[in-house]
Every structure is written in C-alpha cells, then in structure tokens.
Amino acid sequence: MSFVKRAGLYCLRQRFKMLVLFLLLTLIATFMLTGIAIHDAFKEAAARVRTTVGGKILLETDTEGHMGGGRQNEWGTAYYYDGDLITEEIVDAIKKVDGVVDYNCEEAKSYYGAGVDFKYLPAALGLSYTPYGEASSYTATLSSKKCKAFQSGKYRLVDGRHITPDDIYTCLISKELADYNQLSVGDDVTMYCLDSDSKATFEIVGIFDGTKGVAGNALTVDEIPANCGYVDYAAVKDIFKGIFDEEGYYQLTIYVEDPACVQSVYDQISALPELEGKTLKLTIDTEEIDAISTPLESLQSLVNTAMILISVVSAGILTLLLTIWIRGRKREIGILLSIGKSKVNIILQLFTETFVVAVVSFAVSMPFGGLVAKRVSVFLLSRVAAGTAGLDVRISAAYLVPLYLVGILLIAVSVLASSWTVVRLRPRDIFVS
C-alpha cells in the first residue's frame, strides 16, 4: 500500500483530528492571506501617494543675511529682502530641464485685504486698523490646484474652479466665509490693502471647504482659516506695482514627472548658469510625501512584523499539535517500520495527511481572508492621519501561490520536526517503549 493511500485512509477515518487540523490551517491561512493583502495594499497606496503628490523641488529666496538695513515707515522699521528674486529668465531655464513638468508659485500671506463689501468671521480682539476693519491674509498663487492644502486633501474645491496662471484679480474663498456673506461663484468682492493703500476687486472663481472647526480661539481674523483665501499672483504683482519694483517670485515649486528622478532634476537645476551666484535656495520638497507615506510605511513594517510573527507562531502551534498526535501514533510507526516501510516513506505519509487538509483549508481561507483583511485595513487606516490615502485591500487568486509555497514549507518543517522524535528511534525501541 502506497503512502498516499495510507494518508488518504487516515484522513477519512480520523475525521475529528482532521477537522481540528482543518480549522487550525484555515486560521493560519486566513491570517497569512490578510497579511499579504494588507502588505500589498500598503505598497500600492505608498506608490499611489508618490505618483499623486509627485516629486517636488523648492526654489526660494535665501533670506539669511539679505534682509537689508530696514526702512522707516509710520509703524516703525520694516526689513525687506534685498537679494535676488526668481526671474522669468530663471523660470524659463528651469522649464527646459528634462523631467520638469510644471511649476507653481505659492506665497502665503502675500496679500492682506480688509473686506470693503463683505465681513470676515469675527475674532476675539475685533481690531479695526483699516477704515474697513481688520484684514485677513491671502496666498498668492499661479495655480491654486497645486497648492499644498489642496494637494494633501486638507482643502477641497466644492464650487467653481481653481485659479490658473492666466487669471488676474480672481480669488478662492472658503465655504464658511461665502455662507457668512451669502457670496457665491461669479460674485465680486472688494478688498482694501493697507500696504498698498488701495482697493482691489476680485472675482470669486471658486469656493473650497476643509476649514470648518479649526478656528480655535483666534485673536485676529487671519488666525481663522476660513477667513484666509487664495488670489492670483498677477493681481498681487499689479497691486504692488510701483511699491515693490523687483520683478520675480519669492518662491517657486517645481514639479518633476517621475518622483524617482527628483535627485537628477535637482542636480540639473543646481547646475543652471542662471542660478549661479544668486541668493536663492534649492531644496527637494519631501514634506507632503513624508507626511502621507511615513505612517503608511510604519504600518507596512508593522504588518510585515505581524506576518513573520504569525508564521513563526503558526509553525510552533502546528508542530506542537502534530508532535502530540505523532507521539500517539508511535505504535503505528513501529508497525510500519517492522513491515519494512522506510523512514522517508512514513514521513511522506504524515506530510501528505497534513498537505491534503491544507489544500482544502487554503482554498477555503480565500473568502475569509478577504473579510478579515477588509476589517483589519479599516482599523489600521483609522490609525493613519485623516486625509492621507485609501487602502484598496483585495485578495486575488494570485495570492494562493505564495500561500501554498509558504504553507507547504511550514507543513514540511512542522512534520519533519514533530515526526523525527519518533522516526529516529529503532523499531525495537518503539515496541519496547
């Protein structure tokens, strides 16, 4: 009788043991599949984050040692940057660098405007240092869609469109501010700027949300995020024409096609003759990617550790269970040895018995693995900062290949370890004991 037939008979006749083994192997396989699925989902999510956020290089003015001697005005001494700005010549040279796909300027607090025909959400102090009350800050940008808050998902455009490089005298305001003043897309708002001592009218091209509930105990209106908006860069340039004569940007975000090529693009930009001797700083901006991918990577490493632990503990439990059962089959092994069956033949029988159950268990664990993986991923995602990335956890049939490979290895090690204590004995010793 072959070892396969003996194994088959054992599986058929020892149904309770096989049921216990089936449940144990299904549990192990479910955890393993869950681990593989979540591991892959995190890997995909991290790659998606890199693609979505993309590679960024930041070019900005180097203010250290270049803040001038100070200018006297009615409020006191004001210090202004007197170094080089990012000129159109520099921007043109950067655009031609291989791998650069786009650029944007995002200068926070570039424009302070007091509402001439609208009101800001009130702050604690209720200051009124302009004829139109307190002023709030606006970020000047070429393209609001590429601004950090929108890229990270903190802000979301709910109405209208984004500011584009062709716009002039356009703005984005928060939904809270729009609701407070009953403003909508297409309306005009007029603001007074103390720095330029002029009024300017902007068209509301878009409304965004994401500011609700983050005001805290603001003392001034510009400390309330809902009061702060976005204006196009061309308008700011126009408003300050004649006051600040320098031509150029203070900050430029350069977008790279492939995040993996950021370093090479950085090196090419650094070597541009247009930047030589300029008081400008060039840095690789990983802030957003890090903010999103670091928690994902930490969780991925946690899942990896959990998977290794599960495998080791599973092998331990399986070995323990098989050891107990195989020790109980000492006499049977002695009988098989006495009729001339080789040790290898007997170990193959024991392996086949477990393997037959494992084949069924692993197949059955597919749907269970899917359910558990989804629940675990929801739990893990709740541990990651909100607004980062979603996990697409799926158990595909392809996962069965690593599962079977790891499973067979695990069973082989467990069977070998547990059977060796009996099989290594001389047949006579087995009968004597």
Partner: protein, 207 residues
C-alpha cells in the same frame, strides 16, 4: 536447507548488561522452531535481531548466507521476514483487508478467507474483531508479504486455549505446506510441542 543463521551473536544494553552471549544457530525452511525460556532471558531480543528490528552488538545475522546489514535492516524486514506479535500490532484505523494490503504482495481477501475471516469481517474496523480474529489478520498480513521467514512473538499469548489451537495449526500449515521457516518465541509448552525444533534460552545462552 538453512535459510537463516546467527553466528556468535552478542547483545547488550549500553555495552553493560549482556542479554545474549555468543549465540549461534541455524534455521531451515519448512520447519517450526520454538524458542523457550523464562522471562527476561532474551527470547524477544533474539527474535528482534533475526527480524532486523535491531542489530547485534557483536556477531552476524545471515539470511541465505548474506549479512542482513549489507542491504539494510529495512530491506531485510520488507523482503525476507514477517512478524506476528503477541498484541497483534494491527493499524487500528484500518480494516483487515487494508492491514493485510500494507504488505500487499498477495491479494488480501482470499488469504483472510483462508484463515477464517469472513468477507463481512474483513471490511470491519480491526478493533471490532475478537482477539483470535485479530491474530488471524496479523498472520494473514505476515503471509501476504510472501516472506520466507515468519517470526512470531508469543502468538497465542493473549488467546484462550480454544482460540490458540487453530492459530497453532495455521502456523504449522505455514511451515509444512507453505514451506516457510517459522520461528516462535513462546512460554506455552502446548505450542512448543507442535514445533519441529525446540531451542531453550537460559541467561542469554542457548542450551
């Protein structure tokens, strides 16, 4: 014709207590050998050495003139000898047919029927058979291997007189009709009387 031979065989546990001391004997086909002796004299050890369940500390066990260790003890157990144990040693999750099929050189059912096991009994679990029936299954398994030597360790030790008698007859049939060499270790004088040759073992020596 000599089929098995032991030459100056010694056996000791851990090199100290000698269980068998310089034993030599020859065993022929078509004969029943009974090894008699008091408990602890080394009867079962001698049978184990003949069957390749263990190897002697000194000396040789020869099968048809060849040392059984030359081709390996497992090979010897598989091809040359078959065991019948006092406690039957059947695999408990199998039927008689399956137990006999373990050594399947001959078809199991005719053998079982020849030894008085009905078709219905042959398909039951072995634990549902009586002691005598289980021993018949064990004998059938030994015969199915078609081995030249049958080694029986107290084959009637667990059976009453009425059940033991037919077992003795079957063993005689194995030797005289099937031309096998049957070596029986026993305490039973009744069974020993049926043997062609009686070997007495005392304090590890053949007398």
């Amino acid at each position: 014709m000599c089929i098995m031979k032991i030459c100056n065989v010694q056996y000791s546990y851990d090199g100290n207590k000698k269980v068998l001391k310089n034993i030599s004997a020859e065993f022929e086909a078509e004969k029943i050998y009974a090894i008699l002796g008091p408990s602890g004299c080394g009867k079962t050890t001698l049978l184990s050495l003949l069957g390749g369940l263990d190897h002697p500390s000194r000396g040789q066990v020869l099968f048809q003139g060849e040392d059984i260790q030359k081709r390996g003890l497992a090979w010897h157990r598989k091809n040359n000898v078959a065991f019948i144990f006092q406690n039957y040693n059947l695999i408990d999750y199998m039927t008689p047919i399956e137990n006999v099929a373990l050594t399947s050189k001959l078809p199991p059912l005719p053998l079982l029927e020849r030894l008085g096991i009905t078709r219905e009994e042959a398909r039951r679990n072995v634990l549902k058979l009586s002691g005598g029936q289980q021993q018949r299954v064990a004998i059938a398994r030994a015969l199915a291997s078609d081995a030249s030597v049958i080694l029986a360790d107290e084959p009637t030790g667990n059976l009453d007189e009425d059940t033991a008698a037919p077992i003795a007859d079957i063993l005689k049939e194995c030797a005289h009709q099937m031309k096998k060499c049957v070596i029986i270790v026993t305490h039973s004088n009744e069974l020993a009387r049926q043997a062609d040759v009686i070997l007495r073992l005392k304090k590890g020596e053949l007398q």
